[in-house]
Symmetry: C3
Subunit: 155 residues, 3 copies
Amino acid sequence: MAGTVESKLKGIGISLKEAPAPVANYVPFVRSGNQLMVSGQLCFDDEGKLVAKGRLGADVSIEDGQKAARACAINLLAQVKAALGDLDRVSRVVRLGGFINSAAGFGDGPRVMNGASDIMVAAFGDKGKHARTTVGVAALPADAAIEVEGLFEVS
Amino acid sequence: MAGTVESKLKGIGISLKEAPAPVANYVPFVRSGNQLMVSGQLCFDDEGKLVAKGRLGADVSIEDGQKAARACAINLLAQVKAALGDLDRVSRVVRLGGFINSAAGFGDGPRVMNGASDIMVAAFGDKGKHARTTVGVAALPADAAIEVEGLFEVS
Amino acid sequence: MAGTVESKLKGIGISLKEAPAPVANYVPFVRSGNQLMVSGQLCFDDEGKLVAKGRLGADVSIEDGQKAARACAINLLAQVKAALGDLDRVSRVVRLGGFINSAAGFGDGPRVMNGASDIMVAAFGDKGKHARTTVGVAALPADAAIEVEGLFEVS
């Protein structure tokens, strides 16, 4: 049975599929005390295809970047569910780290990252309001447009 | 009334203005247990103008980069004050993450980031000595030259 | 006397030398509660020489990048030993953050970062399995090919 948070996500058309497997020799999350550290998630969709490839400011529009950031956030939540069984056990989204595959000089990373942040607030309300760092990087795994990592406080 | 740490900052000519508002859908800090996570701060000055724009190793000198890093650190402290009311409640600066808007091959990020680190040590003394990661990124929000995030242990 | 973990490392030909000093005004690690935050380590070898310089996808092969990532991991462990006296006091490797000096479009960061992750698993077994974020950056200190930071849970 889905908890309150997952029901809220369903209400906006998001259902969590199986959490994507790590692409290399690490694990998707580690719990330490009441913190859950989730590995950087790429913008894979439900079929395992990248929502956007290449660089913002060159190959990818802001709108497509936002969709990609949203996919990263959904994948983070799928990992949290795999870790905890129920998203309702999240007491706070502490931090998102957003990495935007960017051409030099691309300054709109924050607008792009809102695609991820909005999902957290939609899912958790005030508990979803998080600290955030957004930077533009030269390259990402598989040439994904966006990667987002997350730190969650859990009960 | 300003605490000891803030008085020390005043002694070196730094007074904390209002903490800058986040530039998108997130919050400037989250407290979880005795940790305070502060969002990446851009190099805005007191008037909300970027201290330096563009890339180190191309458009921005090391000296200007250091001034920009210093501004990021001051903005971090303004956020800490907004979170805690008093900088004296910081028991340790745990980590700074420094992101330097860089041309390929720019290897002097650490010298630039000292502009931020020096402020922490000036403010908190031994408690201000922090772990640090400095990297050169392809782009930053608003084409800022520097962004710095911080993790603080608080009592 | 070396502990169990360090003996295991010796068995695969790795002995920890003195931990590299920070290249600027910060400290190599900070302990806060049961977390040990280790500063970003560059790919210095035992003689203080960079294992690889320049960009993956341009100047540095994947194989050399993996060797460089491995060197970063060994330097992280040297810092952990300096902090704790004994690697056996690590109860979990929580997170590695991998920064790959990359040409635009280089998508094989995860393969490169395995050079670091493999060392953690070789040293700590299941306790060495960590969350991870790998990104490609525009520049690194001293033009190093790789930088890795680490978060460890300690007892």
